[in-house]
């Protein structure tokens, strides 16, 4: 069992990790064909994984309804929503599942007038949360936080047309903050992140870090 659950996956990870890393340096068409094959497999696995995800989602909400967990009523809407979308998707304006997708179908209507506004609504909540978080946490407690606060005000005003109305220098100052001190700090973090990511990849390829397979050894 250990052979199947540990040795084989680690061997696959090592062989493919090394091969794909070196493939980057081999431009030959055989190398491209190999990469294309690998990516096709990846897409097939990703496609099938959708079924696992759907099963998990439905199983979770079915259990919530079955055991009357807190807020179980909301779980009913998961089934109603999924059922309606599946029905109109399969119905396809009477053309059925095998025909090409029809234009202006009920499926499109649900997408444009239900999913689109619902998604945009959740995204718009971000503006409210940002205002609230800014009010509570942007306090000039130290010299550093005071500097941060001034920079934030300049950037906030400089990034909207109102800033240019207040002073033509505000957008320029905002751009300078974004492209000089901000960029310098981000690059520092990015370099550290990249080195960390490479080191982690090497540990995974060589089987030194194997927590993702489950278990500690």
């Amino acid at each position: 069992m250990t052979f199947l659950r540990r040795t084989i996956p680690l061997a696959i990870c090592f062989v493919l990790g090394i091969t794909i890393a070196f493939q980057y340096y081999v431009p030959n068409q055989h190398s491209s064909a190999f990469l294309e094959l690998m990516t096709r497999w990846d897409k097939i696995i990703a496609g099938f994984a959708v079924f696992i995800g759907a099963y998990s989602l439905f199983h979770l909400h079915f259990s919530r309804i079955k055991f009357k967990a807190a807020g179980w009523g909301y779980s009913i809407f998961v089934f109603i929503g999924a059922g309606i979308m599946l029905f109109f998707g399969f119905y396809n304006e009477g053309e059925g599942l095998l025909a090409d997708k029809q234009e202006g179908s009920m499926f499109d209507w649900l997408y444009i007038y239900v999913q689109v506004p619902a998604g945009a609504t959740i995204f718009s909540i971000l503006a409210f949360f940002m205002a609230s978080a800014a009010y509570r946490t942007f306090r000039a407690r130290t010299v550093e936080s005071a500097l941060l606060l001034v920079a934030a005000i300049i950037v906030m005003l400089g990034r909207v047309p109102l800033g240019a109305l207040i002073s033509p220098y505000l957008p320029l100052a905002a751009d300078w903050i974004m492209s000089v001190p901000n960029l310098a700090a981000k690059r520092g973090i990015l370099l550290g992140v990249s080195l960390g990511a490479i080191a982690t990849s090497i540990k995974i390829i060589f089987g030194i870090e194997r927590q993702y397979l489950g278990g500690g050894d």
Binding site: P27, Q29, A49, I52, S56, K186, G192, L195, T200
Partner: protein, 411 residues
Amino acid sequence: MRLIVSLLCVFITVVFHGTGAMAQYLEQEFTESTLPEELRAFDVPDDAGGSIGLSWKASPADSPDVSYIVYVSTSENGPWQEAARITSTTGYKSDAPQYFGFRKKQRNHHFVEIQLQKILPGSNVEKPYYFKLAVVKGDSVKEFDEVVSARAKGNWFNMSKLNNLIIMVVFSALVLYFISHARRHPGMFLRKISGLEAVDEALGRATEMGRPVLFVHGLTPIGSISTLAAINILSRIATRVAEYDTVLKVVNNDPIVMTVSQEVVKESYLEAGRPDAYNQDNVVMVASEQFPYVVAVAGIMTREKTAANFFIGFFYAESLLLAETGATTGAIQVAATDSYTQLPFFITTCDYTLMGEELYAASAYLSREPMLLGSLRAQDIGKAVVIGAIFFGTILSSSGINFITQLFTGF
């Protein structure tokens, strides 16, 4: 006054005569042009095949109103088809340092890369192809008789990526060396990471309050290093949760991440000697898209009043929505992300935030396994090398010496 008029006359004569002479010279150059010197066709190096390069010596008659046309054919005698057209003051070998290096003299030769599939779709790129040049000035076109040919072939190594390969091999060797060194010499110093010191505090609090612990994955799929790092941390947290005998809920938006997380948590419970406490329904994919995911996770936080929330992985705009909701429920919150745009949001709303590479170090930190800690030393050395290269590169580049800049140029 007479002097001024005389000078003006001399000036006008010189200018008009000069312009006429120049026009005559260009006309002569153009109509009596000799063959473009050193015309050569060759397989473009470092590619998968399918491209042929053409080079020829730049002419003194090159000017912005003179253009070159490259014609291509599958036969030496034509028919010819236009493959490329460049202004004669552009398209030099120096514009393609990936093939010809950074030497200044490369500006003495023109270079054009012809992608055969783009010019002749569906053609057999392995056959020899024939090329000839023409010069255009205004409406006049002068075609040259010299025909050159080349055959495109795929290469087995991309020499322009040699610098990248050397850096990769050296850094990988450093990581492996320090891992092996750490195994022989355990007890490596590691600075304190408050966020990870707080993991036990958060779990203890959840146990005392009898409320669940929530582990929230970022949005990236399993192929992302951030997600793998998050899974490594999940494994450590799950083992401790099992020991504390409290409930761990894991949410994510990707079915493969969910499957791997289920396996990891199950194994961790088994390792802690509590396989009975594992419940598969606690490790779930709640939604596949970003904002439905936010709503589902926020719902879990508010309904189940989670005592500790861990936001680990790569996050986007959902970071503030999740962490702010968690803050309202009074949960102790720890975030770890390499998504630096979201760091300000986590810092303002979470109790502890692991920034950037600390995400990758967390698994090693929590386990204290020498083998995992060793790579951190290699990262430090890598950073020192990068800092040195940036420092000296900036000084040298400012003095007009671009050696280090060219050494690190990626193609």
